[in-house]
């Protein structure tokens, strides 16, 4: 037992409290409580850690000085996407999720924690309207996990093990999905044509052994799938499911995948009211129709509405608890744990404040801005668009005609204080625009690219 100063996070370091509590336990020292830990397992002395900043002011200065070394995407021009998007987050959203009632709660019952149950039921309900499906989960960790689980569900529902990958998938997402499903699913990747699924090739590969056709729209390269209905029919004709990854940000203006036949729709909710957070603000949604064959395969929690003993009062609780690993350990569906509830509440507030008009207008702006950016960059000498598909928010350009690699181009643009995009191939650059990169910003990018091409 070491004698230390009183710490503000630890009330019973106050000597009188500590002494009174020790006396109540009949222990002579705190060391007695550790009697079961053998000497050979004990840390000798103190851990080798840096000196702490015990005064709050010193701590504030230290951490702030580290953060101050960063330059945020609000401080210079960036066109970065690839799974994390620089969308505007309305102030209302952060006010709500900053409330410590939500921030510091965890696992209370739906009596003292009625609020989070209702807020997450509303999140599920708002997403359901956007996606035109009747069931949405309490968010899982992220879009990668949501996708891996959606495919695993398709395998369990169909009892089959082949997945036809029909779109260009983010390579990191592919890495996660591959490692996650490999004990029970085989992925067959079908190269895309002109940015979208090769319908003929997919048709030729779907068999009675196919669990699912997996589409991403927008794809990793931002292309929107136009033949969704045909792909759905192709899958359904052979008893396979259509699993669609999407970003719900476009669903105010784009037909939701369920409208053209998707059975399971999944993705990330970061675009809906969560900041970029260096890639650390993420939540995964999984949506299905209200069919128990699908619902009972979902690992996540599902909050349902229920009556109470008082008329006109809404209560909430867990639907179909006995499918989860909380209830059944390894006999449950995959597993469930602490995931992304607060980001779910954020997305619910976002959709509430945006409303149908906000989502439709934002979707329209993103479509139009993407078209403008493509047209503007394609007009540069040596730059080609890589496909003719319709795009939302992201697209790739091929810069081979400039004689420069994409990596080199990114470096040169960085020297002009612009992050122009993400390298997606030797000569291929993935460029992203959002409502925070306006036409003037796109024109600036185009001019800087043109200058760079001339200079090199």
């Amino acid at each position: 037992m070491t004698e230390q100063a009183v710490h503000p996070y630890i009330p019973n370091t106050a000597p009188d409290s500590r002494a009174a509590m020790l006396a109540a336990t009949g222990a002579a020292s705190i060391e007695e409580f550790y009697a079961d830990i053998p000497a050979e397992l004990r840390v000798k002395g103190l851990l080798n850690l840096p000196e702490p900043f015990t005064a709050e002011a010193d701590l504030e200065r230290h951490v702030s000085s580290l953060l101050a070394k960063n330059t945020s995407t609000r401080e210079y021009l960036t066109f970065l996407g690839a799974g994390v998007y620089n969308h505007y987050v309305p102030a209302v959203v952060e006010d709500v999720i900053g409330r410590s009632e939500f921030l510091t709660a965890y696992a209370g019952e739906p009596y003292e924690d009625h609020g989070r149950f209702q807020a997450l039921f509303e999140y599920q309900s708002l997403m359901a309207e956007l996606l035109n499906m009747d069931v949405v989960n309490v968010p899982t960790y992220d879009g990668y996990q949501a996708t891996a689980t959606s495919l695993a569900m398709a395998g369990r529902i169909t009892g089959r093990r082949t997945v036809i990958v029909a779109s260009d998938v983010h390579p990191d997402k592919m890495s996660k999905v591959r490692d996650y499903v490999r004990p029970f699913l085989d992925l067959v990747v079908v190269p895309t044509v002109d940015g979208v699924a090769d319908l003929a090739a997919v048709r030729s590969l779907v068999t009675d052994e196919t669990a699912a056709v997996w589409l991403e729209t927008p794809s990793y390269f931002g292309a929107l799938e136009a033949a969704g209905a045909e792909l759905a029919a192709t899958a359904h004709d052979r008893g396979a499911l259509l699993v669609v990854g999407t970003d719900p940000i476009g669903c105010g203006v784009l037909a939701p995948p369920a409208d053209w036949g998707a059975d399971i729709v999944c993705g990330d909710i970061q675009s809906l009211g969560v900041r970029q957070w260096f890639g650390g603000g993420r939540g995964g949604f999984i949506s299905v129709h209200d069919d128990p064959a699908f619902v009972l395969e979902m690992p996540s929690r599902l909050f349902g509405i229920e009556s109470t003993t008082v008329e006109g009062e809404y209560g909430f609780g867990d639907v179909a608890w006995d499918r989860t690993s909380f209830a059944l350990r390894e006999e449950g569906k995959e597993w469930v744990g602490t995931a992304a509830a607060l980001w779910g509440i954020a997305a619910g507030v976002y959709l509430s404040v945006m409303g149908p008009a906000g989502m439709a207008e934002l979707g329209e702006t993103l479509l139009a801005r993407t078209a403008y950016a493509r047209q503007t960059l394609a007009a540069l000498d040596g730059v080609e668009l890589t496909d003719t598909a319709l795009h939302l928010r992201e697209f790739t350009i091929d810069v081979a005609g400039t004689g420069m690699t994409a990596r080199r181009l990114v470096e040169l643009m960085r020297s002009k204080n612009i992050d122009a995009g993400v390298v997606a191939g030797e000569h291929r650059l993935l460029v992203c625009v959002t409502e925070l990169t306006n036409t003037a910003d796109i024109d600036t990018l185009a001019a800087a690219l043109a200058t760079t091409f001339q200079e090199n």
């Binding site: 850690l49 410590s100 509430s352």
Partner: protein, 537 residues
């Protein structure tokens, strides 16, 4: 009567906020707007018009039936809901055992409120994100020392995800040795978190679960019988959810190593042993921490949390990639790890929680962490002495032994006497502004409740909690109907459970509720106004 005011009663006269708040769809008024957004510039619309045919093919035919509310109405609705939620900042939150509901310091929230944290993109020029890379790198170093292991990955978003990350590495390790097929079993214990068993199963393993011996320790004889060349790993907690420290843990690890298996330490329950004993001393190959438990980041109504997976040298090549490395005085993102399991989650980790955990550790240092552990254990043993003074409460197993950071108690005796279950007692306790959690399933301890007081609560607060618990126990004996008909002071009254398990009756979204109970038209055919119209009901 006027001043003075009479002394406060011994127990707080609590009532949870109750706004009788409608579902947000019921608040919708057609035409209201919550926020205005950018419209396309003329040149942008013109560019899109050249693709009119493509747009028509994918355009939504009807607007999504989202509610329409002016901004302040949205604010009022969600702030009312927030008031109807009992965060740890409001409650003596020592009843959520295994979850370490400690104080999340406000300075750490203040530190996050900067564009230099919130608005960073993970693929920015590295020179522009040196500060955040340094915080990730430093946090890894701190946790490596706290675990005693070689290297740490911060990629995962929760404890269960970190367990998954560990099982993925275990699988890759055995495959690299040509034993991927032959090692197909994972051993865990019933008092370890269910995700150890569930993640192992999801990764394709057969799961063997050890039951406790008569004293509550994982049965070492059962382990001896279970280990074999088929053993891929042992995944175990210590202290387990009973708060009992298994002194023979090194033998457990050695038995598994003896057959070529790996040992993974679930350190969700690390709060009482910080700086006291580590994964390293017990010989573990892997461990994980929950930054939202032991390292103070808020639980966020159920996430995001953050998981940290630590591994010994032989497992470093299998860590999720990329890693954040220090080269000279620069911090770089290194994706060159050919044996890596690849991505477990997008990018590098839950940035806000890594900043919070870093700040928390740096506020405490080595001595402070040890104080955290020691006071958490003092608080727990003090609480134990007070709870056991309530007639009808017991702490099964390891009689006479001290406990580490938590205890799984039992109301079995009280239940036999009064017929009132632990669940019912917990709900009545909520009427006093307190909460407790029972146990994971299956209930090995009869009528369980699991308390973990952490280091964050004062003696006075612990006493207040125990007084409320004792009052509910008095009610169980003297006025049982008060307990049976609880809650009385909550947002809502007793919730029926008739529909949650019936597919034709459950309602997981508002639209499903409208469809099943009010014959609402499918949303694909509805306008926003139709769904919002009370006449639909």
């Amino acid at each position: 009567m006027s001043l003075p005011v009479a002394p406060k009663p011994a127990l707080r006269r609590f009532h949870q906020a109750s706004w009788d708040e409608p579902i947000i769809f019921e608040l919708s008024t057609p035409g209201e707007r919550g926020v205005l957004v950018q419209r396309p510039a003329a040149v942008e619309s013109e560019a899109l018009s050249r693709r009119a045919g493509q747009v028509a093919a994918v355009r939504r035919s009807t607007a999504p039936a989202l509610p329409e509310l002016a901004q302040m109405r949205v604010v009022r609705h969600f702030l009312r809901l927030s008031q109807e939620n009992l965060g740890a900042d409001f409650n003596v939150d020592i009843g959520q055992g295994t979850c370490t509901m400690k104080y999340s310091p406000k300075i750490n929230e203040a530190l996050l409120r900067t564009t230099k944290a919130m608005d960073l993109h993970p693929l920015q020029d590295e020179s522009k994100v040196q500060g955040i890379l340094e915080i990730f790198w430093r946090t890894e170093q701190l946790l490596a020392e706290i675990s005693g292991l070689e290297r740490v990955s911060l990629q995962t978003q929760g404890g269960s995800a970190a367990i998954w990350s560990n099982i993925a590495m275990i699988r890759a390790y055995h495959e690299s040795n040509g034993e991927g097929e032959s090692r197909d079993e994972v051993i865990t214990t019933i008092f370890s978190h269910p995700s150890n068993a569930a993640c192992a199963k999801a990764a394709g393993y057969k799961v063997i679960t050890l039951m406790p011996d008569a004293d509550g320790y994982p049965d070492i004889e059962a382990l001896k019988a279970a280990v074999s060349p088929r053993t891929a790993a042992l995944m175990i907690t210590n202290p387990e959810d009973t708060g009992i420290y298994n002194a023979r843990i090194r033998e457990f690890v050695d038995l598994v190593h003896g057959v070529g298996g790996l040992a993974a330490y679930d350190q969700a329950n690390a709060n009482g042993i910080l700086g006291i004993t580590r994964a390293r001393e017990a010989g573990f190959d892997l461990c994980h921490f929950n930054l939202h438990k032991t390292f103070s980041t808020p639980h966020a109504s159920g996430g995001p949390g953050a998981g940290a997976s630590a591994v010994s040298a032989k497992l470093v090549p299998f860590l999720p990639g990329p890693t954040i490395d220090k080269v000279g005085d620069r911090f770089v993102i290194n994706g060159d790890h050919p044996q890596s399991v690849g991505k477990i989650a997008p990018f590098y980790g839950v940035t806000p929680n890594i900043i919070r955990a870093y700040a928390w550790i740096m506020a405490l240092g080595a001595e402070g962490l040890r104080q955290v552990a020691e006071i958490a254990v003092l608080n727990n043993n003090y609480l134990l002495s007070q709870v056991l003074a309530i007639p009808g409460a017991s702490a099964p197993y390891a009689e006479g032994k001290r406990r580490i950071e938590q205890v799984r108690y039992s109301w079995e005796e009280l239940f036999e006497e009064t017929g009132i279950s632990s669940e019912e007692i917990g709900i009545r306790l909520s009427d006093f502004g307190m909460h407790y959690w029972t146990s994971h399933h299956p209930y090995l301890v009869a009528q369980p409740f699991t308390l973990e007081p952490t280091e964050s609560y004062s003696k006075t607060e612990i006493d207040e909690y125990v007084a409320a618990l004792a009052e509910v126990v008095r009610e169980c004996r003297e006025e049982p109907e008060t307990v049976r008909t609880a809650p009385h002071n909550q947002t809502v009254h007793h919730i029926h459970h008739d529909d949650f398990d019936a597919p034709e009756r459950w309602a997981i979204t508002w639209r499903a509720y409208q469809r099943k109970y009010f014959g609402a038209v499918p949303a694909s055919e509805a306008t926003p106004a139709a769904v919002a119209d009370p006449a639909v009901r």
